[in-house]
């Protein structure tokens, strides 16, 4: 009896090994990210394993761009930071030899956004994957210094010296950059500890930010907390502590680090309000030019008046 079990076991082992051999045979394979992952930031690093001997040209094609990657001698692993668009993204890496495509690897990534109803809930079989674990980092050690070289509480004089900067610099490339992010004090928010909202993610990444994130925000923005707490009505994202829903804590092309132009953000949730007739009505009532910004009349955070109105006399 025992012998039989052992025999089956051995056969199983051999089979697994053989399939592995076949699996590794591909010329180009994307080792990160996994297929069907969710991203919440619009920049993403892609890591590829390449058999350099069989490849002349390596191209990475995303929904937004197409770029060639320089190949060097016997380097096997390459990485590239790409930008994503909202919703579905297809990333394909193609290897060419003598003008003929020899291999291709494809990943489907979903860029989710809390402020848009249509992008808030990714398809069911998609998962959020994290990169910064010891096992995954070990792959990059040859080229990148993966240690944390930041002194807590003291910013870099030369930010390019930060080890995080090397890979993540696209995060802060927009015009309006948040001070802790642009000074690469990453661990002031990315503490590695999960908050109440992401308890299930505890331990998945070394640099997990706690959600809700407001505790980290209020460590600096103390006076704001004091002010908002004193008001009667508070906007839901504020009350639930998700400052990051509207504000990008790294950088943004829009003032106050909002993720999109203000009206777009508001309409993301309040899409029923997006009718010209209604705003025109408001204009008639209030005499204010409401065609520009919602926040001209409404406070985006908190107010003592119903509907978060800033000018109660124009009710």
């Amino acid at each position: 009896m025992k012998h039989k079990v052992l025999k089956y076991f051995l056969i199983l082992l051999v089979c697994v090994n053989i399939t592995n051999l076949f699996g590794n045979d591909s010329i180009v394979s994307i080792s990160y990210p996994k297929d069907k992952s969710i991203s919440y930031e619009d920049s993403l690093s892609v890591v590829m394993d390449v058999k350099v001997k069989d490849v002349d040209v390596l191209t990475i094609i995303t929904s937004k761009s197409e770029e060639n990657i320089d190949l060097k001698g016997d380097k096997k692993t390459y990485c590239k930071t790409i930008t994503l668009r909202l919703g579905d993204n297809t990333i394909s890496v193609r290897a060419y030899k003598n003008g003929v495509m020899v291999d291709e690897d494809i990943r489907k990534i979903y860029l989710a956004a809390d402020i848009y109803k249509q992008f808030k809930y990714p398809p069911k079989n998609y998962k959020q994957n994290f990169f910064h674990t010891d096992k995954k980092e070990s792959k990059c050690i040859n080229c990148h210094d993966m240690t944390l070289n930041e002194t807590p509480g003291i910013a870099f004089i030369d930010v390019t010296k930060s080890n995080c900067y090397q890979c993540h610099n696209k995060l802060t490339s927009y015009k309006y950059a948040h001070a802790p992010a642009v000074n690469w004090l990453c661990t002031s928010c990315h503490t590695g500890e999960a908050g109440e909202d992401n308890k299930d993610k505890q331990g998945l990444s070394k640099y997990l930010p706690p959600l809700p994130v407001n505790k980290e925000c209020y460590r600096c923005h103390k006076s704001n907390k004091k002010l908002w707490d004193s008001y009667r009505y508070r906007h839901d994202p504020l009350d639930s502590g998700r400052c990051d829903k509207c504000h990008n804590p790294h950088s943004s092309p829009y003032s106050m680090f909002v993720r999109k132009p203000i009206d777009n953000i508001c309409m993301g949730c309040h899409s029923n309000k997006h009718s010209i007739d209604e705003t025109q009505n408001y204009t008639i009532y209030t005499g204010l030019d409401t065609s520009k910004d919602c926040i001209k009349c409404h406070s985006p955070h908190a107010a003592n008046e119903a509907f978060f109105l800033l000018h109660p006399e124009n009710k």
Binding site: G153, I154, A155, F156, I157, A177, A179, P180, V182, N183, L185, S188, R219, C220, K222
Partner: protein
């Protein structure tokens, strides 16, 4: 029938009781009293206030009955004790060593035998009474009080021990906790002349201070120099009593309960007895300096009570005095936080704020900090903001005591005018740009008030909510650039403006 009997019985019993207890009388009195009360209430001269007698649960819990009872008992006990006290004390004989109040010595001629008196005119020239103050026996010619009449040794004293002679008339014994060495050794004549002197108290010198300095001056060449407590009279700055008044303002010449023969506690009380303006600062200010408030030597941590080289009788120069303690991180009396190591900070950063650079002229640390205590934080002499953001418009901040306020108030400055500020982009005053509105930034955001590695006291790091952000300031001949946490890298140029603030 039964009912009738019961009724009868109750009537009889009631009548008996009515009679027995004098109910009628009591009722009459009750009516009178109630009538009086009613009359007083209606015709009372003062209105009765409504008192709130409802005690809340919290208050009730605070009232500790047993504690109150104890207090009452103790007060009664005290009263009993007081009553028991005044038993007349038995007259106690005063011991020889005990201190007595100074007694005025009375010399009565009748007490001294007339034959013993010497006429002063008979004395040799050497002993003629030529000075202002004369010792009473000497004046009377009663030499015999001190000297023997043996002919072979004229002028010999009646006893070899000086104390026996002096204390026979001067009953005051000088023995307290601390004694002056000559007093202890019985060398009265070290200071006092037994015959005559031009100074009061028959001193052997023309003034009290000179007498003291005979022994206590470090530079004196007098034989019997005191073994300790030297004062160097050659030093330029002296305490006023030493120069103009008397050493006895602080010290007792003979004996004292306090160390160094002082009148009061030497560390602070004695000093503040005269320096009452400082006393207010030390005791009443909101923020106190640990140096005087909680230190070991109090005033003497920084000041020498006699003479020094430095102004204000400081032991060391104005900067070094402070760095005695502030050469390490010191716990603040103000909020319990740690104060920075200023010595290290000054050593590491070569560009110093002018008061620190020129302490003799500008006043050193005490130009900005009140060393005895102040009502402003960090014992500053005048108010400043603790916040990163503040409105500069109507506030009289300390910096503008020395620095011209136009530096921040002028929005535009003429291109050639370099006197106001060099921190401008063309005509735009960048100081004004940084501090003009409700969210004006404190001066300390960019400038280090003590010392810096960079010119213009520009900080290396600015502290924003506990995070240190570098300013990344680079100066060029006509301008410069800055890339702090607040904004991206901005360049400014006085000659070729980069367009900041437009």
């Amino acid at each position: 029938m039964k009912k009738l009997v019961a009724l009868l019985l109750t009537v009889v019993l009631g009548a008996y009781l009515f009679q027995a207890y004098g109910v009628a009388e009591k009722f009459g009195r009750f009516v009178v009293i109630m009538g009086n009360i009613a009359y007083n209430l209606s015709n009372a001269k003062h209105a009765y206030e409504d008192f709130d007698f409802n005690i809340s649960d919290d208050e009730l819990s605070e009232i500790n009955v047993s504690k109150i009872a104890n207090e009452v008992k103790s007060s009664i006990d005290k009263k009993k004790e007081k009553k028991a006290l005044p038993t007349p004390l038995a007259p106690v004989e005063i011991a020889v060593d005990e201190v007595r109040e100074e007694e005025a010595v009375k010399h009565l001629k009748t007490k001294i035998k007339e034959e013993a008196l010497v006429s002063l005119d008979d004395l040799p020239d050497k002993f003629k009474p030529l000075k202002q103050y004369l010792h009473e026996p000497f004046k009377m010619g009663a030499c015999r009080i001190c000297h023997t009449s043996k002919n072979n040794k004229p002028g010999e004293l009646i006893s070899k021990r000086m104390t026996d002679i002096c204390y026979s008339c001067h009953k005051t014994k000088y023995t307290k906790e601390f004694d002056h060495k000559p007093v202890k050794d019985g060398r009265c004549t070290d200071c006092h002349d037994p015959h005559q002197s031009n100074t009061k108290s028959l001193l052997k010198s023309d003034s009290i201070n000179n007498l003291c300095m005979k022994c206590h001056d470090k530079t004196s060449s007098f034989k019997s120099k005191a073994t300790k407590q030297f004062i160097n009279m050659k030093l330029p700055v002296k305490h006023e009593p030493i120069e103009k008044r008397s050493c006895l303002e602080c010290h007792d010449a003979h004996t004292s309960e306090k160390k160094f023969l002082l009148h009061l506690d030497s560390k602070m009380d004695l000093c503040l007895d005269c320096h009452d303006d400082i006393a207010d600062e030390v005791h009443d200010s909101k923020y106190k300096h640990g140096g005087v408030n909680t230190s070991k030597k109090r005033c003497l941590e920084c000041h020498d009570p006699h003479a020094t080289k430095h102004k204000k009788l400081l032991k060391l120069d104005p900067i070094k005095t402070c760095l005695q303690c502030h050469d390490k991180e010191v716990k603040s009396d103000e909020d319990g936080g740690m104060l920075m190591n200023i010595k290290k900070h000054l050593d590491e950063n070569p560009n110093w704020h002018t008061p620190i650079k020129k302490p003799e002229k500008e006043g050193g640390c005490s130009a900005c900090h009140a060393p005895h205590g102040s009502d402003n934080f960090s014992i500053l002499r005048k108010s400043f903001t603790k916040n990163f953001y503040d409105n500069f418009d109507n506030k009289d901040f300390f910096c503008f005591e020395c620095h011209n306020k136009t530096k921040i108030s002028m929005q535009y400055i003429d291109a050639e005018d370099n006197n106001v500020t060099n921190f401008r982009d063309g005509e735009v005053n960048l100081h004004h740009l940084h501090v003009n509105d409700r969210k004006g930034r404190t001066c300390r955001a960019c400038h280090d008030e003590h010392a810096s590695k960079y010119e213009h006291l520009i900080r290396s790091y600015t502290d924003f909510n506990g995070i240190k952000f570098p300013l990344r300031f680079i100066e060029t001949p006509e301008g410069g650039s800055c890339a702090p946490a607040c904004h991206n890298k901005f360049e400014y140029d006085r000659v070729r403006p980069k367009g900041i603030g437009k």
